[in-house]
Symmetry: C2
Subunit: 162 residues, 2 copies
DNA sequence: CCCATCATGTAATAACATAACAATATTGAA
DNA sequence: TTCAATATTGTTATGTTATTACATGATGGG
């Protein structure tokens, strides 16, 4: 079944950011790559939101913190984080979200609310199996899958009804 | 099961373009909207390829045919065609493909070959059911789904082996 | 210490997309 | 038919997203 995605309920944020960063740090050391200050800060920035931020939004925040002001500063950090699975790019929005299910190795599906702009990440085996079946039937070797649904989230639906 | 998507095999093109345009024309008349010359030409341009073209590629071709040279000319035609289901936007590529399964009302899944840039469209009920289940489990009301897989197509896989 | 590699920074530009407004064509009602 | 409302196409200008190219600085192995 599909686990309840995080993102639609309020929750305490202070610790989850630190935990996620610590976990990323550990993974990077294990992988022999560096979670440098810019990269770590970029990850924190995304973790602090439950929505997707554009590269230029991230860039602006990084710059406030004393990092460079030019696009490659943000794009390089985001590329690194994406490559290592700490961040996902939402193609529909040309924007980036922190991974909500670190450690899991599934194909994530995203639910994008067009009202409140929350982006929820649903890790589901079904998406794996869907893509797997497509691959099998067609003989296509899948490298990366993009699964994104746009619509209205439960919170906004409730508000409309009220 | 997943139908064999078109796009990976060679096939005669001359008629399928005309047929698709004729079908689109008919649908538009039924819907009380106009498939004007620019719009029709934009559709033809996309039908002539089995790959995604950027808006500016389409624009350049339209301009060769005497239409305007500014971005809105292409974007408006593409918006119209997309809205009416004759064309799909491939978010991963910021590009557009002609619909390969006109008349069907499914959630399309796209297979994007990173070698030869073919884009195949697989209409599958599984994608509907996947998205449907996500919607049901989460209480999210889906407006639009984006399913795109990047990888290597059967043709290119065969060439690699050879 | 020196070199290779990786990381960061900047400038410049490319690629993708929309806003705002003018001119023209089409449609339908009076 | 004539008029007004709507839809379509065109242009200018600008906004947004992303990359290339190159210089500088940090890190680690030989």
């Amino acid at each position: 079944m599909i686990p309840n995605p995080i993102g639609f309920e309020k929750h305490d944020h202070s610790h989850c950011v630190q935990d996620a960063v610590a976990a990323a740090d550990k993974k990077c050391r294990n992988a022999g790559v560096q979670l440098t200050p810019v990269r770590k800060r970029a990850l924190e920035i995304l973790l602090e939101e439950h929505r997707a931020l554009g590269a230029y939004d991230v860039l602006a925040r990084l710059n406030e913190d004393g990092y460079g002001s030019q696009p490659p500063v943000a794009y390089r950090a985001l590329d690194f984080l994406t490559k290592h699975g700490f961040v996902h790019k939402i193609e529909r929005l040309n924007a980036f979200v922190a991974c909500a299910h670190p450690g899991e190795r599934h194909t994530p599906a995203f639910l994008i609310c067009t009202e409140c702009h929350v982006v929820a990440e649903a890790e589901t085996e079904h998406s794996d199996s869907l893509m797997g079946q497509i691959a099998e039937t067609t003989g296509f070797r899948i490298t990366r899958a993009v699964l994104e649904a746009e619509g209205i989230c439960p919170n906004c639906l409730a508000k409309e009804t009220a």
